[in-house]
Amino acid sequence: MQEEARRSWKTSTLVIPALLLVMLFLMAPLGLIARYSLDQFDPKELMLGVFQLGNYVKAFTDPFYQGVLATTARIAGLSTLIVLLRAFPTAYFISRVTSERLRSLLIILTVLPLLLGNAVRSAAWMVVMGTKGVANSVMPGPGLIDEPMKILYTPTAVVIGLVSVLLPYAIITMQSVLDAIPTSLEEAGQSLGPSPLRTVWEVVLPLAMPGIVAAAAICFALGMNAYATPVLIGGPKMQMMGPLVYEQIAKVSNWPFGSALACILMAATVLLTVVSTRYLSRKYF
């Protein structure tokens, strides 16, 4: 027993290298960002090395930055909602398919887009949604629409792009939870005579809630921090927080203000994720 405990203790030290790496390359930059966000920008010196709250005051009082944060949260939230509505039936289908072959094929199809990377997928959506793109050459056939649709460079386009980027993550997360729910529970529910839809609603959905909440948290965090999708599909007028942070730090060289925006973005992401998961958890389990 004691021998086993000692071996277990030894094994647990295996976590140290990974932990050190995360601390060094994540926590340390985060600390620096937090420090920079309190500094003051100077066109010549870049940073003056002082402590002040001016960057946060600017970010919270300027209507432009308020608007960008609100837009970002709205687009991330809407995309997450659509993703959940699409991912659940898909994940449920995959987890209940009886043919092992079809099941592997569907999982490969789900994961395949992840191999492309966000930038490439967003570029593909640009091809689809451009005025000379696929959507517009398929649609106008028998006078369905008069002029080419303007889809690209609108918030709708960004939501479509984000949904396609986030969907695989949600499907995979939910499917692993749905796999663990035994089919016998649905059969028991079915034996009482309700419609299949009602069985799913009352038996499967509550049991799958942890997976749904996890998927929602991942999608919302990724949506809030999205960079490639808003830049490529949203175009220059569409402002979201990820590109804005990059612009401040890399283009304007205003590190203090960019850092403050980054801190606000992270805080907003964590806050909204925690609040919504708490709310859902209390409601369902």
Partner: protein, 118 residues
């Protein structure tokens, strides 16, 4: 699960549409790579392999591609070397603060990539 009721057909159609949506960008980008038109138009006026030759003759692309390959391989090796022992420790042993450690190790997912590299 085997009878084809209207509800089941509707469900299968829905899932098929969602899969089409997931795979669409992939199909489009592969398809468009063979278009002969210089400016992207649908339907294309012809098909060509020329773009692939062009890509390799651009020194930016070939050097960038090799660089990405090196970075990718190296990052994968490092991630596995650190990640496998860490997951072993977290899943197979008990130690105080195990959940906290797990959360810390997962936290990079919540930090914008732009911030983490700043």
């Amino acid at each position: 699960m085997d009878r084809l009721t209207p509800g089941r057909i509707a469900f299968i159609t829905l899932v098929a549409c969602i899969f089409a949506f997931v795979v669409l960008p992939l199909v489009v980008i592969v398809w468009a790579a063979f278009f002969s038109d210089k400016i992207l138009t649908f339907p294309p006026s012809g098909y060509t392999l020329g773009w692939f030759a062009r890509a390799w003759s651009l020194s930016d692309f070939s050097s960038g591609f090799l660089m990405s390959l090196q970075v990718g391989v190296l990052a994968t090796v490092c991630a596995l070397a650190l990640g496998v022992p860490a997951s072993l420790a977290i899943e197979r042993t008990q130690f105080p603060g195990r959940e906290t450690v797990r959360q810390v190790l997962l936290s990079p997912m919540y930090v914008p990539a732009i911030v983490a590299t700043a």
